[in-house]
Symmetry: C2
Subunit: 375 residues, 2 copies
């Protein structure tokens, strides 16, 4: 799947220029519903073919309209990062939610967690005995927990061999140990890195499941997940995958090789507001719309498929400065262009609602229901 | 005003550790109302002493409660970046608003601009004849415009000598030319850069005003502005300053030297959720809360005054990874710490509401009224 890494690819000429609805107030996030539905179906089929449960991460779409389609396509439940996101899902009638995060339950959050446990089948991540004990006090019932392990991303999670200690502490505190989970975030890089990360996820989970087993706590759920690694894991260990970004795709995923250019379901419609400074044009989609995510292996803050030689070299709150080499084609002031963001997750979270289109025609708008539900 | 640039300063030991209200659901933006009011008063007095009108930029606070206090302290009106922000101000009864942005009026935005002109004294930025003509068609009345010039930031705005051509085109299209404006964004750097930028603003505005004069269009308003340059401009040319960030301050402004550590009015309360990976701790304030702004001259994605040796080396959507050197003090899991963001503008825009406190006691919450009003 990996694309060749020439500078041409990085600058985006392989990306598809989408048709945008006319008359949009820009900047606007525009979702291609046909592509979105195809992405949902393709991942569901890929996971079904592997016999693995698919629990998509809600932190990417944050929209109930998307979650409903994922569940209708056969997802076993949903993943989220915060209690606030889980509340949005519960309010929408989603019953099976895993907060794949080492939640610290204090203050109002403790009460909210307890209320959630009364309403839905909630599972919560833990990576310390202290958090497990605090969770048990907060919810006062045997809520199901998964122990987070670190498979090489060095963010959260204990070493696989320590999973048994945390699981035992959770069980002692009165919680129900459901299994182990990890996130191979180190796979967000081009080349062979995502394949290696998928192997690291599986190897670490295998060791962690064994560590639980040694404590007499079998891991019913062995959960891995990221969009780059979800389709690459070896069979037999992982019981569940939790990809999020696949639902929209983005420039980063294309360069990593985990989605194709035609799989990008979300772009930003943006107007050229200035061509006054030589060698560049300026878009109205600034950092408050396209974010500031720029991995070191991608030039610029997004790609403009219609003007592949333009590099979004700088973004401030309401401006994106796009440098164009001498002689290259460039848009005129007032023109609306589509920007493919580097990373779609923060882009959706910055929007209040999105425009939903089919074949370039706007058909509706969706609210970003869980936008900024960070607590 | 400039602080010495040792690595100690950059890591934040000079920053003040604020008292946070108890029992917050984290992550949360916490405003110290005493400091906020002092910042508003200090800038108002500084501008009054210089005989310059103060038109604070609304894109930083985006909260009517802040705007009201700025107007009460003597601001002549407010600046904003988008038609959507101007609508929020108009809805709150603010009558004098300048959209300091080269607005492209098409589609629904054209109608919205026209409606705004019926309600308030609106001024709009232009940096092309095409935009001036489109604006005239959209609003169908002699709305007041200011010509944007580039003073060295290379973002938007024509060269000062071209200001007359744009002004003449605007006048020919039926608009009222009110003056010229610029933004010395190149002053966002430590050392002498902000003082130089203030000089560049003044020199460029002087040339632009002369270019208008040569076309028989005197510049009634000569508007400069950024927090680093606002207090540094030479007297006599500039009639108006448009700083935004001063109202809260941030880590970047402290290092630039344009606010003191004790002037920081906004921090992020965040909980330590994991200490599982060696050499670090992880906060629940990730990129969806503290943003990703990191100028090359600042280490990390924010500062933690209580743990000055911790470097926020990496942020993902809901995690901030804070590296701590061996032997340095570090917080325990569950502890709540205050983070001083690198750049406050995107932080406020990511929040739905903020906690308002005096002397560490929560007194109210304010809605971020113009959050995500990007169109």
């Amino acid at each position: 799947m990996a694309l060749p890494m020439t500078s041409e690819d990085l600058l985006g000429p392989r990306l598809v220029t989408p048709s945008l609805p006319e008359g949009l107030d820009t900047p606007a996030v525009v979702i291609d519903l046909d592509v979105l539905e195809a992405n949902i179906e393709a991942m569901a089929q890929a996971m079904a073919a592997r016999g693995v449960a698919l629990r998509p991460h809600f932190k990417t779409p944050k929209m109930i309209e998307v979650a409903r389609r994922q569940l209708a396509a056969g997802s076993s439940g949903l993943t989220c990062a915060t209690v606030g996101e889980a509340e949005v899902l519960a309010d929408a009638g989603v019953n099976d939610v895993f907060i794949a995060y080492p939640v610290w339950p204090s203050g109002a959050r403790a009460l909210r967690l307890r209320a959630l446990c009364d309403r839905i089948d909630l599972k919560v991540g833990v990576d310390s005995a202290a958090a497990a004990q605090a969770l048990a006090r907060a919810v006062a019932r045997p809520v199901r927990v998964l122990v987070e392990i670190d498979c090489g991303d060095r963010r959260t999670g204990v070493p696989p061999e320590h999973a048994g200690v945390i699981a035992a502490a959770a069980a002692d505190a009165g919680l129900t140990v459901q299994g182990v989970f990890t996130h191979g975030g180190q796979g967000y890089a081009p080349g062979e890195r995502s394949r290696q990360a998928a192997e690291e996820e599986v190897a670490a989970l295998q060791r962690a499941a064994a560590a639980l087993q040694a404590c007499g706590l079998p891991a019913g759920t062995v959960s891995a997940g990221s969009t780059p690694t979800a389709v690459l894991s070896a069979r037999g260990v992982v019981t569940e995958e939790r990809p999020g970004t696949y639902v929209f795709g983005d420039r980063q995923q294309v360069v990593i090789g985990s989605c194709r250019p035609q799989d990008i379901a979300a772009v930003i419609a943006s107007t050229v507001v200035s061509t006054a400074v030589s060698g560049q044009f300026v878009l109205d989609a600034g950092a408050k719309t396209i974010g500031k995510d720029r991995p070191p292996w991608l030039p610029g803050h997004g790609a403009i498929p219609a003007y592949p030689q333009a590099v979004i070299s700088r973004v401030s709150d309401h401006h994106a400065v796009c440098e164009v080499p001498d002689g290259a084609r460039r848009p005129r002031v007032g023109e609306v262009v589509a920007v493919v963001p580097n990373h779609i997750c923060p882009v959706v979270n910055l929007a209040t609602e999105v425009v939903v289109a089919r074949r370039g025609q706007q058909i509706t708008r969706w609210t970003v229901d869980a936008r900024a539900h960070n607590t």
